[in-house]
Symmetry: C2
Subunit: 239 residues, 2 copies
Amino acid sequence: MRAPYGLNILDNCTTCPIRGEHLFCNLSVQASQRLNEIKSTAVYPKGAMLFIEGQLSRGVFVLCNGKVKLSTTSREGKTIITKISDSGDVLGLNAVVSNVPYEVTAEMMEPGQANFIPRDSLQQFLREFPEVAMRVAQQLSRNYYTAYEEIRTLGLSASPSEKFAKLLLSWSTKSTQSDGSSQVKLTLTHEEIAEIIGTTRETVSRLFSEFKKKQLMQSKGATLVIRSRFALEKIVQSY
Amino acid sequence: MRAPYGLNILDNCTTCPIRGEHLFCNLSVQASQRLNEIKSTAVYPKGAMLFIEGQLSRGVFVLCNGKVKLSTTSREGKTIITKISDSGDVLGLNAVVSNVPYEVTAEMMEPGQANFIPRDSLQQFLREFPEVAMRVAQQLSRNYYTAYEEIRTLGLSASPSEKFAKLLLSWSTKSTQSDGSSQVKLTLTHEEIAEIIGTTRETVSRLFSEFKKKQLMQSKGATLVIRSRFALEKIVQSY
DNA sequence: ATACAGGAGTGATGCAGATCACACACCCAC
DNA sequence: GTGGGTGTGTGATCTGCATCACTCCTGTAT
């Protein structure tokens, strides 16, 4: 099998290395088999758009590897990034389940593979396997919950500092050392961070300076060291 | 049957006057029957809390009549109202489907009746009737979409004026005259409006003055007259 | 080497809204 | 009536952040 962009193609979910607690993992044998029949797979370059906000939903994408940026844009061109999706995530689920246009744009942040399941096949599949439909409902529910958290943070008029601290915290949870510090590789530009926390590039720049001066974090190149979760948590008093 | 708070109790969904396009209306005969068995009904006074943010989810409530305020509060006591629910709405669905605590507080804004379906019964019910599970998934998906809209509005840093205009528009859609104006009965305090659009009481006061001066609306007592949807729409340029 | 693009730091300025601090209007109790 | 509670109008002030306007730095294309 060809390996474009330096990636090996995974053509079978049952042998997938990231097989785990994701939505379409660990299905019954029949369901797994059926899924393999209706899915197709492809590898995308960096910058590829899996789908675009407002497009009629064609189907869902299951991300096999790589990172995907989900964003939405206002008329005047202001963008907010709502999520950075990781491998295993299912993208476009809501749009397909409810037969509405995609509500966000999904862009590959690095080369990666994704499986595609056409809308009709998926809907048929869910009718065929009620237990999967139930899991889908739970996933949607979890999505909703996450969106809610977002609303809380945004709507409770948190200051950029608070939101930035929150973001750092969410990054550090993935890899915290025993001494409370943690290292993260920074893959986002200041601009992108600004789009996540809803502020401007300049403010993010200033936040970096400020947080470094306050010994909350330090950075060498693309490596970010978050000093103390505790101090950050004090900044995020609000919920 | 007793009629507390001056309300007649509805004890059967099949004869419900608001029976229509709601989540648990128009089910199959068997499903309807089963639903009637597992639900219980009660009438609540104004101010009653159906459930509170953070509580373990006990079940869902189907609102038969009255209005319910859904809100979430930060540690420092700042509140945001995320939705005003109307009759027919199902409350607490996400929490129950995903077995997580309620993410909001639900408070009766006026006396009203609600059916209660315990968590376990509902989950069993959904397993029993896959087509209902599918509808639930769609409902959750729609909830998610609404939450999304909210995020867009909040996150794209809309000004209070924009959000206020948007709110007025959403109110006027329900009853627009041929000349583009519409009457709404105002049941919310300035404080509550502030909690919806994420600003302060004072700012809402000033918005009222400002919009009246600009001939966008007028108010006599609790009756609000929205002059021209068109003018409002111009204010809401952003998405 | 050159040049250009995309990213990052940082100062100066202005303004929208939060906040504080009142005054007033209304309703209900007693 | 008098009082208190709740909702409202509106001024004065203060400030955080957007915005504008630069410079500098790096990588990479030619």
